[in-house]
């Protein structure tokens, strides 16, 4: 049965393929790339977002500034409508105190580079306790509570270097950051520290979201740099005595606050009711400048539509650029956007997200039905001159994900850039404008613009 369906889909795509004007499409795509590489705005727009606004965690004053920035920027380009969509977002603040040390059995203190995980409670003054190390989450979950009680859990698991796609290595360690505090608290621990989620050995700690569970004690959670984690692990393995961890953090969760998704629309000339959403997230963590995560996605989305308009292209579908708020710690922007769309009975046909950095483009993932995947794959030849080769079933993105719950047949596309350097910068002080390359960023914007053009014509 499945085979028959595939055959029908292939036939459908082939038919539409035979109706394509490959030369005309290729010329349009070439012009899009030329405009982006020679006269693109993405890099300077990103500089402005990083330097004029900076880091912009949900609920902060800088997130408000980012909304202002986004609305102004969209208004400066030729969108038909620019507006804000009100949402409520969590408001967690890092506070003013954030320091950690470990103490070896011979009483020597070593200061670590440490960041509280987003959402963590504070230590309520100085907290100290004996370290108990686990190699991974499973080992912790199977531990004897008597051995963990009153201690500070250290989960040493590194991201797996062998993974070629670095997001797979991240995905495998993600639950440690997200659920380590709950796992540890269930065994009676008073705090938890994890090895930063990064594939490189360096001195910056990487933050990121974590969760508590109703009925489980909330204990403070922090990440230490990979260099610190490697050293600490070695010392623990080579020491018979016990080591203490001492830290102070006064981070806290405040009441939710009002915030906004920022939206810019170009009305479709043929199907104004059919919407293609293109987005990234406007919020970032509160360290660095959110350059790759996800300033790149913000400027990619806005620039992709600007590139199309620069070619005097009149989109058939309504193109809606969305700067989602609060992807990092709650996804209230993405969830609200999908919910409001369904309530308004909007007709959403496709969505594209860029949230994997501003690196050299490799292709697109498609989270959709087989027809959608085949359609994406039928575009491969258009992208060959630009060295994009990845067109596969895969993941769309956190922000656009909730649309799938409301629209069964929507085609979600995730922009896939080269992933090797992403976790050098992810959620840390190094995620700054200087670590983004202009050409790589602009090739990404042109790739997304080209996909929009093809979807607008062949969806």
């Amino acid at each position: 049965m499945k085979q028959i369906i595939i055959l029908i889909f292939i036939s459908a795509v082939t038919t539409s393929f035979s109706q394509r004007d490959f030369a005309k499409d290729s010329t349009m795509i070439r012009n899009i790339f030329n405009e982006s590489l020679e006269k693109g705005h993405a890099y300077e727009d990103l500089r402005s977002l990083c330097k004029d606004v900076g880091a912009r965690i949900s609920g902060s004053a800088s997130a408000e500034m980012a909304i202002h920035w986004g609305k102004n920027k969209l208004e400066s380009y030729n969108f038909d409508k620019v507006y804000l969509q009100e949402i409520m977002v969590p408001h967690w603040v890092r506070g003013t105190k954030e320091e950690g040390w470990y103490k070896t059995p011979d009483d020597k203190l070593h200061k670590v580079n440490m960041l509280a995980l987003g959402g963590s409670v504070g230590t309520n003054g100085t907290m100290s306790g004996e370290i108990i190390m686990f190699q991974n989450r499973e080992e912790l979950q199977e531990a004897d509570p008597a051995k963990v009680k009153g201690k500070i859990v250290f989960i040493a698991q590194p991201m797996d270097q062998k993974m070629i796609n670095s997001f797979r290595a991240y995905g495998a360690c993600y639950p440690i950051r997200g659920h380590g505090a709950v796992d540890a608290a269930k065994k009676g621990a008073i705090g938890v520290i994890i090895r930063s989620l990064s594939l490189s050995e360096h001195d910056h700690a990487h933050t990121g979201t974590m969760k508590y569970e109703d009925g489980v004690k909330k204990i403070p959670a922090a990440a230490i740099s990979t260099n610190d984690a490697t050293t600490l692990e070695k010392i623990i393995k080579n020491t018979n005595g016990t080591l203490d961890f001492i830290f102070e953090m006064n981070c806290e969760k405040l009441p939710d606050v009002k915030s906004y998704n920022v939206i810019g629309e170009v009305t479709g000339s043929v199907h104004p009711d059919r919407i293609i959403t293109i987005g990234g997230h406007l919020d970032s963590w509160d360290v660095g400048e959110g350059a790759h995560d996800d300033g790149a996605g913000i400027v990619h989305s806005m620039e992709a539509v600007r590139l199309l308009l620069s070619q005097k292209y009149k989109p058939k579908h309504t193109l809606r650029v969305v700067f989602f708020m609060n992807e990092e710690n709650g996804n209230m922007g993405g969830k609200s956007y999908a919910k409001i769309a369904a309530e308004k009975k909007e007709y959403h046909v496709a969505a594209i997200e860029s949230d994997r950095g501003g690196f050299s483009p490799r292709g697109f993932d498609c989270d959709g039905n087989e027809e959608n995947v085949l359609l994406l794959q039928s575009f491969a030849d258009y992208f060959e001159p630009y060295f994009l080769h990845h067109f596969k079933k895969g993941y769309g993105g956190v922000d656009i994900g909730p649309l799938k719950d409301e629209y069964e047949n929507i085609a979600l596309f995730g922009f896939v850039p080269d992933s090797q350097r992403y976790f050098d910068f992810h959620h840390n002080h190094n995620d700054v404008f200087e670590n983004v390359n202009r050409r790589e960023l602009h090739l990404g914007a042109a790739s997304i613009a080209s996909l929009i053009y093809l979807l607008d014509n062949y969806l």
Copy 2:
């Protein structure tokens, strides 16, 4: 006729393809990548070459140190033979003085970031003259000599941002750097300055080799940073009066000196007489640390063979790692290597070069006959899990190029990494270890090791 030959080649490749053990080969390649990503030496070896030796222009003391370094490193791995191959190389020195300014009509001085081009004569004290700007080499070649005589030529042509492969943009501007001084001198100019060959706007000047011609006056030649060139071009275009350029350089060419290619061999277990050469160039320019150009190629080559040996793999062919000397300004290493090989009647079947930086691997070029190109393309499936997709007829490399003059049917392969960032670092102060990413470098070494393995079995 040609079609028949292609068909025969396809048939030959298909036959050999059907004899392949895809699962066994894939497992070997997976193990090579695992070893490289988890326990690879390339990054630390590159750190050592960059920090313990540093920049290493042919004929310098640091080039001698690099030879010492290379021999020691090869001896530390399990090569059957390590030896030096004596060659003569040019010896150009930058000297102690290198400064440039332009002076606007209202007598304001602007200092520029400038580097003498490699091979240039000095200015013999301070040289100054009126600037005459040309947009490109052709404009200069067609100029009225009366208008150029006694002036300093500025060739303003930028690299073409529209090229997707940055090496194509470089290739188009390469003659400006190489022949600009001759072109300008033929018109009576006293000096020439060019816009640095880079795709990014920044403050570092990029050096590189240039040539003089017998019977044409040798005039000093330098490159100014892209930022300086952009500003200077704007001022010239917006000014009615004349601008002067003032510079001093005491670079000079000294007599040729003795130097060496450094060679490490693993003797073939089945065809010890058939040689596969794997190489990069040991020399660099005298600024930065020669990290991407071509420290990456040096450690790629050595590490690729180490990776194979780490898997207890016994190569059938003799694998010869060559650290070529003097690629940058004469290619005496590459030329001598091919000449000596032919004199010794060695049997060379293939050569692989890495000289396009240590970035994320994209594939390989093949400079060979159609059978060789088809063979390379038949390997594509092996590389798909590692995101390598480029397997095309193309360029091998400067060092291995001369082998083709001696061995008509040799298969030359050029390693192709992502090219977007290469000309940010090429020949300038920024080409340092810190700008190389460990995972990108190690994926490259594993890719080259995998190609060697496949060639060793299916060539």
